[in-house]
């Protein structure tokens, strides 16, 4: 660990991590002993099942629903599906799905030799997905070597028109103006769809649907602009909501580079069932690990519903949990883009010093993680001029504390999704600060025992206390009590619990097997 500025006590830091590990353990066990409809659909997607019926309902949904109805999902979808395929009645999986949609396929759980044969065929088919994911990872590395990997902090910009064909020129324009990362926000409401829409889409609300085709189109457009600019521009989307595992699979298949993937965001901000979320999250992160994708976690959001000073320790606790769940799923520290934010009420005294303390604490707790620092949102009002100033202070903290990914704040945050000019002005702001501040991080040392150092120690202390309580009560109960984002989410509440299935002995999922075997 490099020399620290805050002088954090390594014993306290170790204790915090040990507690996070303990708090996570029962939930990890839950994730290993259960599957979900979306995990099973993701497995089929890795085997190359694409497409949807005339109403837009994907074939993977039809297959999983049919298997579930006839044999249940306790053994996974793979054995019944590849057993049915072995009958020779169906030319391929899509043809089988089409028939299954109208009830025309009899599924059964194979045994003995039949089961072995089905397992082998499933493994081979799902393996093709990983061949593609692995190739994409190599291609990314080649492009990074050839075109150049921009220095940190990476500048992260959002596009959200709702129409992929509007998003593309906006994303290219953003890249030309200096964005290192382009994130396409999803349409409102997608999180609660228990299927992934198909094809290129033009009708999202406040965001664009995450679909395989939209992913492909945007990655191709950014590849073009990367070549033009001589720098690899990363693409980000959201693996969240009820289809987290499938979206993660599609991201790997289409060479997305970063994914929003939080262990609790869906629970707290979309009221998705906690158990469903944790199970889906485990599988999706294993895929991200394999794909070399950097995840971004969503702790910043807690500070929109809770107070950024009072709840500062909940951010740290959640980061430690996200780290633990991430490492357990196979992610490397460089893949953990832990989130936090500049959300303290600017009217309170010393708000800047408090922000500095929080940001530095996160930096020093997670020295290898490419931290994702989020700009002010909650206290951005219609006064766009004041907002522009606040964004500059945010940029200053980001650069001074060596954050890895800086999401560019918009002065119109309190009004609308960004105009073209909002984005341009925001980049001008960031570029000025980056240029003017240079390596100030090198010179900046908070006074030992001073305000910043004391505040950081205090937040860490509160985090350890909270973690201890979570270990005592259980993470699911803590979530039910409203520990995060002052939002109460009981373990049996929310959407999607009916998609959770306990695995039986003999459960088979070739994707999980290949992921575990492929771990580095």
């Amino acid at each position: 660990m490099p020399q620290t500025k805050l002088g954090l006590d390594p014993a306290v830091v170790r204790r915090a991590r040990a507690l996070a590990r303990k708090a996570a353990a029962p939930v990890e066990k839950l994730a290993h002993t259960h599957t979900t409809v979306s995990v099973e659909r993701a497995t089929l997607r890795l085997a190359g099942v694409t497409g949807a019926d005339a109403t837009g309902m994907p074939w993977v949904n039809h297959l999983v629903d049919a298997v579930r109805e006839q044999v249940g999902l306790e053994y996974g979808v793979a054995l019944p599906v590849w057993h049915a395929l072995a009958s020779g009645e169906h030319t391929d999986l899509v043809a089988m799905a089409e028939k299954a949609a109208t009830g025309g396929v009899r599924f059964a759980l194979p045994t003995g030799k039949d089961a072995e044969r089905a397992a082998k065929a499933a493994r081979k088919a799902v393996g093709t997905g990983f061949v593609r994911i692995d190739r994409n990872r190599r291609d990314r590395n080649k492009l990074l070597a050839k075109l150049g990997d921009p220095p940190k902090p990476w500048i992260y910009l959002i596009v959200a028109t709702g129409d992929i064909y509007e998003d593309i020129p906006q994303a290219q324009a953003a890249a030309r103006e200096g964005a290192d990362i382009v994130a396409v926000i999803r349409s409102t409401g997608q999180s609660l769809l228990d299927y992934v829409p198909e094809g290129a889409t033009r009708e999202g609300y406040a965001g664009t649907y995450a679909t395989q085709e939209n992913f492909r189109l945007m990655r191709a457009a950014l590849d073009d602009v990367s070549r033009e600019l001589g720098r690899y521009v990363r693409l980000t989307n959201y693996a969240s909501g009820l289809c987290m595992p499938e979206i993660a699979a599609l991201a790997g298949l289409e060479r997305l580079d970063m994914m929003l993937n939080d262990c609790m965001y869906g629970i707290i901000f979309r009221d998705i069932n906690p158990q469903r979320t944790f199970i889906d999250q485990r599988f999706s992160r294993a895929i991200h690990a394999r794909a070399g994708i950097v995840i971004n976690t969503g702790e910043d959001n807690y500070l929109t519903t809770a107070d950024a000073v009072d709840a500062a320790h909940t951010v740290i606790v959640s980061q430690l949990l996200n780290e633990r769940f991430g490492l357990e799923a196979g992610l490397q520290p460089w893949q953990l883009g832990l989130g936090h934010a500049f959300e303290i009420n600017p009217d309170i005294p010393d708000s800047f010093r408090l922000e500095l303390a929080h940001a530095l604490l996160v930096r020093e707790l997670f020295p290898e993680a490419p931290l994702k620092y989020m700009p002010p949102t909650k206290h951005m009002s219609g006064n766009v001029f004041a907002g522009y100033l606040l964004d500059a202070f945010f940029n200053l903290v980001g650069v001074m504390t060596g954050q890895g990914i800086i999401l560019v704040g918009m002065m119109t945050e309190g009004i609308h999704t960004p105009f073209l000019s909002d984005r341009d002005l925001a980049l001008e702001n960031v570029n000025y600060v980056r240029n003017a501040v240079g390596d100030l991080a090198e010179d900046f040392r908070p006074a030992p025992g001073g305000f910043v150092v004391e505040r950081a120690h205090r937040v860490l202390g509160e985090s350890v206390e909270l973690l201890q309580r979570i270990v005592d009560d259980g993470l699911l109960d803590a979530i039910a009590d409203g520990t995060f984002g002052i939002t109460k989410r009981p373990a049996d509440g929310g959407k999607g619990l009916d998609g959770v299935v306990k695995k039986a002995d003999g459960y088979l999922n070739p994707a999980s097997d290949l992921l575990e075997e492929g771990r580095t």
Binding site: G162, A173, L420
Partner: protein, 252 residues
């Protein structure tokens, strides 16, 4: 105040100079025509003379402008329509007393953020005990029973719950406005209300709130009242008393 002018112009640094500032983007590359194009727009908007004080290329196809200019338009203050609050703001005690004496049971409100919108902070600010801007929310009022359904609730779910709870008022929140999502979802609520209570005299009060409803009237949306940015719980409680218990004699 005496002698206040009825007619005013924008104020830059001198009375009557009419100076305003404006920024916008044109889908024009920053070539020779760009500034002229911006000036033409400014002139058509009534800025004369106007100066382009800043223009910057944003990629090959767009230019951003900052323009200052003098507007010739006059503002006639006597023509400004002010929507006066149609009711007095009461204290929690007064609200409770009015409900107790006039309604003789608890007043029931059912609230939700409807449609795909997941924003709850505004709704919670009105409903939760914690409240907003130092004021306690409706849950704090002893004579009000609050059912807060949270977000991502469909209009039908909200209306069904309101019916089951014998609600006196339905409170809807809408924050996302892109592609008029807020208007669309609000209309879904008012339509569901009409379908459920065909007889208007038995309908609960329908209230909608959110930061960007400035462009519409309650009538446009088929609701009874719209609450905008910065609404406080006391205003909503007072409105409920005013609208539902009109003859209540409330101590001043």
């Amino acid at each position: 105040m005496t002698g206040e002018p009825k007619i005013v112009r924008p104020y830059g640094d001198t009375t009557g100079d009419g100076m305003v500032q404006l920024s916008f983007t044109l889908p024009v590359g920053k070539d020779g025509r760009a500034d002229g194009a911006a000036l033409q727009l400014a002139r058509k908007m009534g800025l004369e003379p106007a100066t382009v004080v800043h223009s910057k290329a944003m990629g090959p196809d767009f230019t951003f402008f900052v323009v200052y200019g003098r507007v010739s338009h006059l503002v006639d203050l006597s023509q400004v329509e002010v929507v006066e609050r149609e009711f007095p703001v009461l204290t929690a005690k007064e609200v409770n007393l009015a409900i107790r004496s006039r309604l003789r049971r608890k007043l029931v409100v059912v609230g939700a953020t409807v449609g795909t919108d997941a924003h709850t902070v505004g709704l919670d600010a009105i409903l939760n005990v914690k409240g907003f801007a130092g004021e306690k929310g409706l849950e704090y009022y002893r004579e009000v029973r609050v059912v807060n359904m949270g977000s991502q609730v469909t209009a039908d779910e909200l209306v069904a719950r309101a019916k089951a709870e014998h609600a006196d008022a339905l409170l809807t929140s809408q924050v996302v406005t892109q592609k008029d999502a807020h208007l669309h979802h609000t209309r879904e609520v008012s339509e569901a209300v009409v379908a459920t209570w065909p007889d208007a005299s038995h309908r609960p009060l329908v209230i909608v709130g959110g930061p960007r409803f400035d462009t519409v009237t309650p009538k446009d949306l088929g609701v009874d009242r719209i609450f905008g940015r910065g609404t406080t719980p006391a205003e909503v409680a007072s409105y409920l008393v005013h609208a539902l218990l009109p003859t209540a004699k409330v101590p001043a």
